[in-house]
């Protein structure tokens, strides 16, 4: 009898350890970063070229099912995630950041903010993302526009002085304690797919301030 109890107990513990370790390693429990399985990284922006394809290993497949269901394979879209600022600190909802970038070697691109549960933060600011269309429209009147742009990521709407390009481009972090940013590149060029670390030019993320007083905020 003792032998049977020992075997059943061992199997039960083994099943639990195996199951929980799988869920943890796949990012389904324990708060593992959505970018934890990246095989392409540039300036702290991470992606995995096997997303959406049969080449994805069981961990990537499970992570995508949890954090990026219905993601496209890389030939149609690539997704880069970044959760830290230029100093390596976790992006936080009570801080203000400057996001600066230029054009992307893709048909279209966008940048969206997601909270720690891979959800859009619960706010009604109507400022969940910026995209190539919005950036182009924002700089439309600037004849010297050379593709460089900047945006503010903060939990209050920023204002800019006259002379700047209209209202500041803004992504609202209101409602997100911590967050990450995801850049989508739709129909990336062959060069991006073949030599991502050489050809990608992802935006920079500079922390401007934290706490109640924020640089770039309106009165």
């Amino acid at each position: 009898m003792k032998r049977i109890i020992a075997i059943i107990s061992t199997i039960t513990i083994g099943l639990m350890v195996g199951g929980v370790s799988a869920l943890y390693m796949a990012g389904l429990v324990g708060g593992k970063s959505p970018a934890a399985f990246a095989d392409v990284t540039k300036d702290d922006w991470s992606s995995d070229w096997s997303i959406g394809s049969k080449a994805a290993d069981p961990y990537v497949r499970a992570r995508v099912a949890r954090h990026g269901l219905l993601a496209l394979a890389k030939e149609e879209a690539v997704y880069f995630t970044r959760a830290v600022d230029s100093e390596g600190a976790q992006l936080r909802g009570d801080c203000t950041y400057e996001l600066a970038g230029t054009g992307q070697d893709a048909y279209w691109w966008s940048i969206t903010l997601y909270d720690g549960k891979s959800r859009l933060p619960m706010n009604s600011d109507n400022a969940l993302s910026i995209d190539a269309t919005l950036v182009a429209a924002n700089y439309e009147a600037d004849t010297s526009y050379n593709g460089n742009w900047s945006a503010i990521v903060s939990n209050t709407r920023p204002k800019r002085d006259k002379g700047d390009h209209g209202d500041a481009l803004w992504i609202s972090s209101k409602g997100a304690e911590s967050f990450d940013l995801m850049i989508r590149l739709y129909r990336p060029s062959d060069a991006v797919l073949a030599r991502p670390t050489e050809t990608l030019n992802p935006p920079t993320i500079k922390r401007l301030s934290c706490g109640t007083t924020r640089a770039g905020d309106g009165a």
Binding site: V64, L69, L70, E76
Partner: protein, 191 residues
Amino acid sequence: MNKITLALVFIISAVAAHYGALYLVPGVIMNRTFDAMEGRGITTSAFTLVPRVTPENQTVVRPSPDLAYSICLFDFRDNQSPLNIHATPWPLQETEQQTGRREGYASVSFFDARTNNFATVRVMADGTGSNITLMPPNSAGKYNIAVRKGYTLKVIEAPTEQGIILIRRLAASDSEYAKVQDLAKTDRCGA
């Protein structure tokens, strides 16, 4: 029973549970997604344009608020008839026509029951890619499908009997989304 035997039992159990869980997770999550979508009125063999994504109505992780999504569930378990899919072309946007920018975007993507994106077709403003036939698993070669004048009619075979078809159209503003609402009425996903 010695400790070595128990250790082996433990290792075998843990490894089996580890890889078993990893294998099951995508299918389980897709099943839950099917159920959630059906709960929202998304049906099999018909496209449903879902409301513009907001924090309140998001039902899948990491949706893009800049895209309009039309969803059709496919299920070949009871009906082996091929699905004829029509994604109405998304005309070039006004700003695009004026400035030559390339921001317009539309595609039809196919996902099997294990989350694989097994095909994606680019839908161009001139109609290229707007007509697609989805065949049941293991049925390639049984049908002779003509190519309609002016359109590229693609034929794709599904690797699993159930899955999701998704049309993505770039609609980063309320006014563009309203245009998609009109245009999506002529999308088709049926036998």
